[in-house]
């Protein structure tokens, strides 16, 4: 009775996923080595032409660089910020519940709506950020920064929105890790003479290293594969300055109708995921810290 029950319970879910994820993956591979277009019924095998073609396009090369740049910078900021915030939230204090609610908002809100909010915050004419900076005397009110219109600033804005969005998630994960440390370890460290910084940097933070890696992994995957923030804020502009791989794939494949080109572009996301999967498995293997 038992032997078949386990697999039987698990089968429907796996079958569903295998079908609706596996099939598209296979289809994606097929599309990327063919010349499919929306509206045409015939497709021919073209080998690696799509991939080669993509690599030669400046907008693709730019998108590749941007994807890495945005991800690395935003996640570095996230880990630093989340660590600081998690350490600060560890001890209970009055109003911590409210603080947690506020801190979580960026993560909970649908990405598109949060990004829309930022679009308004960074509006070329009415940006409240610019108003506050001007009031503080940091910018010229006659010539305010074009957060979404000037290439460098647009990149910064996208990085900022990504950081803003994933920080709460990382904080929550890190906080969970910190609170899972048994109470007597930091007490022993206190008795042994460790001050605040020494205890945290040499004892508690290293102890939650696996959890930090998990948070980082999620943040990296979410940011690298996200097209929403870019789409809403800048549509990839100005002049492809903020284009990233997923958004380029969207413009090429869906709006542009070049299914195989789009598929080829999205497949470049795959190595990233593979890396992520390997890292996660490594962590799962040697995560025992007790």
């Amino acid at each position: 009775m038992r032997r078949w029950l386990g697999p039987a319970l698990v089968a429907p879910a796996f079958a569903y996923i295998a079908l609706l994820v596996g099939l598209p993956v296979v289809l994606s591979l097929y599309l990327s080595v063919s010349d499919a277009r929306v509206g045409s019924d015939t497709t021919r095998f073209v080998g690696l032409a799509n991939f080669a073609g993509a690599l030669q396009t400046p907008s693709f090369r730019g998108a590749l660089i941007h994807s890495f740049l945005f991800t690395v910078i935003s996640q570095a900021l996230v880990i630093a910020g989340a660590t600081l915030l998690a350490l600060s939230l560890k001890e209970a204090f009055r109003g911590r519940g409210l603080v947690r609610l506020l801190v979580l908002l960026p993560w909970v809100a649908p990405i598109s709506l949060g990004a829309l909010g930022w679009k308004w915050l960074l509006d070329s004419l009415y940006s409240v950020v610019n108003w506050m900076l001007a009031a503080a005397g940091l910018v010229d009110p006659m010539n305010p920064p074009m957060w979404l219109g000037e290439p460098r600033l647009a990149m910064l804005s996208v990085i900022l929105v990504h950081t803003w969005r994933t920080l709460p998630f990382a904080t929550v994960i890190l906080l969970a890790g910190l609170t899972s440390i048994p109470r007597d370890i930091p007490e022993a460290a206190a008795v042994d003479g460790g001050g605040f910084w020494r205890t945290h940097f040499t004892i508690t933070l290293p102890m939650i290293r696996p959890i930090v890696l998990v948070a980082l992994l999620f943040g990296v995957v979410f940011t690298f594969t996200d097209m929403t923030a870019v789409y809403i804020l800048t549509r990839g502009g100005p002049a492809d300055a903020t284009q990233v791989l997923p958004s380029l794939a969207f413009f090429t494949g869906i709006l542009g109708g070049d299914l195989s080109g789009g598929a080829a572009i999205s497949l470049f996301l795959f190595p990233m995921l593979l890396l992520g999967a390997i890292v996660l498995l490594r962590i799962a293997r040697r995560s025992e810290v007790t």
Binding site: P182, D184, I185, E187, A188, A189, A190, V191, D192, G193, G194, G195, R198, T202, I203, P206, M207, R209, E288, V289, T290
Partner: protein, 339 residues
């Protein structure tokens, strides 16, 4: 001069009763002082207040002649061994022991010598490169001790360090601990709920219950001369027999019951045996007294395994020497002189 003392030490958590209620303790220099009591008696809280891990609600803690209430644990010159050992799991044994040295700013060049010395003392030199998860319970305990030792503290504080070891290991670990403390001569304050441990290790024992100190004395003093019924029944297994009559409790220990009729200077009873237990090293007989004055009172009798055991249901004469009798007031539980 590393004497540990508390004066009217009190701790209240929230709006409830005092967990620690006006505790006055004073250790002697180099003494192994045991805080003994059931769980909830406040003994661990007292230890933590001495360590500086909890702030007292009121009262003072003195270490080595200074009042340390305002000092952090680090400044108090203490070392602590936790019940769970609290070893840093991601560091090797070597680095675990090195941590206090680093934290105190001891120069790197001196680390190896000191760590070597501490490891030597506990026989863990060959374990220095291992991580805590690779060690057995007994080995972890010794690492915790080495880590405490390496700081050369004024006082050792130990929170039930043997309770996580299995029974067989506990006895040998206890012996080692005792030898080590005697050799070192550093004052140690040790918390336990195990009275056997307390009696074996302590130079003096502080017996606590519900946040208050019931009695302080050498093992012999608290065993033979209990200050109240709590101490009398907490120590000794099985506990002291207590018979009540006219507002007075008469007490005597199971091992002081003898078979036979009472001579001059002894008190006799008629004992009806209900049940006997053979424990290998000794035997126990559970029964009731048949005397008119003590009818139906339950009594436990402890005698060597080579003596014949009374038959179940049999009635015989037993006696207890007067010198062994203890009297307590039945309403307060306090010791009183013989009536």
């Amino acid at each position: 001069m590393a004497i540990v003392a508390t004066r009217a030490l009190t701790k209240r958590f929230g709006a409830g009763e005092n967990a620690v209620d006006g505790v006055d303790i004073e250790s002697r220099d180099g003494e192994f002082l045991v805080l003994l009591g059931p769980s909830g008696s406040g003994k661990t809280t007292v230890l933590r207040m001495i360590a500086g891990l909890e702030d007292p609600t009121s009262g003072e803690v003195w270490i080595g002649g200074r009042m340390v209430n305002a000092m952090t644990p680090r400044e108090r010159g203490i070392a602590m061994v936790f019940q769970s050992y609290a070893l840093y799991p991601h560091l090797t044994v070597y680095d675990n022991i090195a941590f206090p040295l680093k934290a105190q700013g001891v120069p790197r060049s001196e680390h190896e010598a000191k760590i070597g010395w501490a490891a030597e003392k506990f026989g863990i030199v060959r374990l220095l490169e291992r991580k805590p998860r690779e060690l057995s319970g007994g080995e972890r305990q010794r690492v915790a001790l080495a880590r405490a030792l390496v700081r050369e503290p004024q006082v050792f504080l130990l929170d039930e360090p043997l309770s996580n070891l299995d029974a067989k290991l506990r006895a040998s670990a206890r012996e080692e601990l005792q030898k080590f403390q005697k050799e070192l001569g550093t004052t140690a304050v040790y918390v336990t709920h195990d009275q056997v441990e307390a009696m074996a290790l302590g130079d003096r024992v502080v017996i606590m219950d519900h946040g208050r100190v019931r009695q302080v004395g050498t093992p012999a003093e608290v065993y033979d001369d209990p200050a109240d019924t709590f101490v009398a029944t907490f120590l000794g297994s099985p506990p002291m027999n207590l018979l009540e009559r006219d507002g007075i409790l008469l007490g005597f220990r199971p091992e002081h019951v003898r078979a036979g009729s009472a001579a001059e200077g002894a008190v006799g009873f008629r004992f009806r045996c209900e049940l006997t237990e053979y424990l290998g090293s000794e035997q126990l007989a559970y029964g009731t007294l048949q005397d008119a004055a003590w009818a139906g009172r339950e009594v436990v009798w402890r005698f060597p395994s080579w003596d014949p055991a009374p038959a179940e249901g049999s009635v015989q004469d037993v006696y207890v020497e007067r010198a062994r009798l203890r009297y307590f007031d039945s309403s307060t539980g306090l010791r009183r002189p013989a009536p």
